[in-house]
Symmetry: C2
Subunit: 449 residues, 2 copies
């Protein structure tokens, strides 16, 4: 008999963890809903033709491909190398993110959808990344996107969603860092090197990790001149309040129309006057974000500095996502919550509320058939009132039954001994504070569990 | 550009369907929880060694296997046939049901679990069945199981869960048909053909479809004598009230101790005196259920006869499930809800409540910046109160904005024109009954949306 296990990088979630995760999902879901976002669910498997080439070469490698059913031996014979073999025996892969399936859905349903279409989606995705601390091969994404609207009100609302959810989760000290891709493009334009846009943003993005000297060295290696680098360093030195930053950006990048457009957009998002934030977004000119499809605002959410967790969410505007599937000119903007990391933050800061950790509230002890029958009736009354209750499954020793309550962290035990049965009462033991009450049967539904 | 699609037998669930499905999931989940069941989630992928051989040969064929990442070309070279090739290039498969992963979890966590362990699990499973009406390659299972308890109270509670959930869903006329595998075994024992147990039960199970003559013919073909068949026909003729059925069973099968045990168990479940049902379970001696691991009570839930949907759930007791993974002597009993079919039943009987179909409640029209800014504030007040509200994303023609509300089935539209802004009021249009109210801004949170 082989000792059973689960695939590398995957996890079982036991009751305690599922409840806490559901608390996070539920908080996010409720916020998505009150903001008018609509739920969508797509299949775990997508056709390879939908996914291939959408996540770069690395993505194609890290996709979990699903073997065709039936005979694969014959088709496999003709394959001359690994790539041909994979192509011959697979035509589906597991969902790699929620964005491409969403784009695919929008294109397939374009004639039925009311635009703008505001959708949210909370489902697992799979990636064959090397498993390591905090990185799994199966993990949930929670995304909200709006397609079919250029209005910057969407950017404001999405930032508000972050602000609302994180506040509701009790988090303090998180940061909503924002930037605009047009500003980064404008910077490359100002120094006359738009072809090096990606190189510049990749290097800038590392400022936190490798410092100013590191960035300078990288930029030199990537073929930028001293004069280019001087401009970039001025850019990186931008500092002060949001308004000060915006004004410095305007000064430095005034020759680029694209940059000015980006600055205007950023300015609207910061100073829209439509609403106020619990934690106001911060302009971070070094923020670049990896995915190349972003074209407008980009956002990254940092966990409170005390927990050293880094990013717990991010997103941005992309101008032509559905274009990948032939539907041009539909702009989109979206955000994503990193639930696994948010879980770790809440755990570390002990922010999970009592309610998210509670399962069964009341255990009725089983003291033999007569007692158990009466107990069963009371138990059903509690259940009908929505209070989770159990009766121990057999007339075991009191000690064993109490141990079960303890191990399951059930806070109340109800005892119906002979005297209680005669008196039509019950004894309620609070296992948290060891207090014991005796109440009349009629009072059960008013008892403050 | 290839027209995008999704794999055969899979589905996208748009907003309206997701909400209705969530209503079903939520009703089931809440009932599982008040009955003291604990949530569990297992990975979508399991090791092939966990799954292979657990679902019969057919199951092994219908599993979706996941291609190993990295180079498969080299390992594939040595394969001499299809089976060897599949074994050389895969080591994981998608979850085929929730029972085997549950058994695997129990064995892996046996030292931490408080027994009896009552778990529920609601996750998708994947099977490469031929897609057809009502049969999909990706579908949800919703299971509740108890392991580590022989008490028949569990059977009673699981039947109560069906009764509670279906009543809460507003279904009437459903049937909880129950039987006991020991009775079927006893029947085979009485006619001295326990080796033909499977043949007998398979034929009996078809009574509904092929009629008494059909069953007789099948039994003959399967090698049963006329005298055997006479006994089986007496068995099938058992009829009347539950007590009458139990007494006829006792008469017919008195020579089998196993049968008598099964009858006693069935009798307890029917007449436990612990509780009452909205719809009392019915004894159906022809009920067999396919999976061979059942050893005690079996149950099947039939949809109301008017909808012709057949089974919408089922389950039973199995005595040695974890034995598959080396942990002997742990009895289990469980039930499963067929969510896709329940969905169809509720749809056909129009039982989905209004609340399960509602998304955004209020749309604020966008009548230019000054109006929109004020509207945004009101909108946030509604959202904080948990009322889903949106503002149209741009100052478009009234007509376009009303069309959006209509297409999205948003029931209320709020208008802040110049006069409303001056008066500090707002006009609320009910799109369902066409009524229009004008209220003071301070009354918004008390308005009965």
């Amino acid at each position: 008999m082989i000792k059973p296990g689960i695939p590398k990088g995957t996890r079982d979630f036991g009751p305690v963890v599922v409840r806490k995760r559901n608390y996070i999902f539920q908080t996010i879901r409720e916020t998505f809903e009150v903001f008018g976002f609509q739920p969508l669910e797509t299949p775990a498997m997508e056709n390879l033709s939908t996914l291939t080439g959408k996540y770069g070469e690395e993505g194609d490698k890290l996709m979990f491909k699903v073997l065709n059913n039936g005979d694969i031996y014959t088709t496999a014979q003709h394959a001359k190398d690994n790539k041909e073999l994979v192509a011959a025996v697979t035509e589906k892969a597991l969902r790699y993110d929620l964005t491409i399936p969403f784009a695919r859905y929008v294109v397939m349903n374009q004639h039925e959808l009311a635009l703008p279409f505001k959708r949210y989606q909370m489902q697992p995705v799979w990636r064959a990344d090397k498993p390591q601390k905090g990185r799994y091969r199966e993990f949930y994404q929670c995304d909200a996107d709006v397609v079919g609207s250029n209005s910057l009100l969407n950017e404001v609302e999405l930032l508000l969603i972050y602000d609302t959810v994180l506040t509701q989760l009790g988090m303090q000290g998180y940061e909503l860092r924002i930037n605009n891709r047009k500003i980064l493009f404008g910077l490359a334009e100002v120094i006359g090197k738009t072809d090096l846009l990606t190189d510049i943003t990749i290097s800038i993005d590392k400022l936190d990790k490798i410092g100013a000297d590191g960035v300078r060295k990288e930029l030199q290696e990537r073929g930028l001149t001293d004069s280019d680098i001087a401009t970039i360093e001025k850019f990186l030195a931008i500092d002060g309040s949001s308004d000060e930053k915006l004004s410095q950006l305007k000064d430095l990048l005034q020759s680029s129309e694209t940059a000015l457009k980006g600055i205007e957009e950023l300015s609207f998002v910061i100073n829209s006057g439509y609403t106020s934030f619990n934690t106001a977004p911060i302009i971070d000119v070094t923020l670049a974000r990896g995915l190349n499809y972003y074209t407008g605002m980009i956002v990254e959410v940092k966990a409170p500095a005390s927990v050293k967790m880094g990013s717990i969410g991010g997103g941005g505007r992309y101008d032509d996502l559905t274009g990948l599937f032939g539907l041009k000119g539909i702009s989109g903007v979206g955000i994503s919550f990193g639930v696994d990391r948010i879980y770790d933050v809440l755990e570390e800061l002990q922010l999970f509320p009592e309610a998210a950790q509670q399962s069964t509230k009341v255990l009725f002890l089983n003291l033999g058939e007569a007692s158990a029958r009466t107990a069963f009736g009371y138990m059903m009354q509690l259940r009908e009132k929505g209070i989770a209750a159990e009766i121990f499954h057999e007339n075991a020793k009191m000690d064993k039954q109490m141990k079960y309550a303890d191990k399951r962290s059930i806070p109340y035990v109800i005892i119906l001994g002979e005297s209680e049965l005669q008196e039509n009462t019950m004894s309620i033991k609070n296992l948290t504070n060891r207090r014991q009450d005796k109440i009349g049967a009629a009072e059960l539904l008013n008892y403050d569990f």
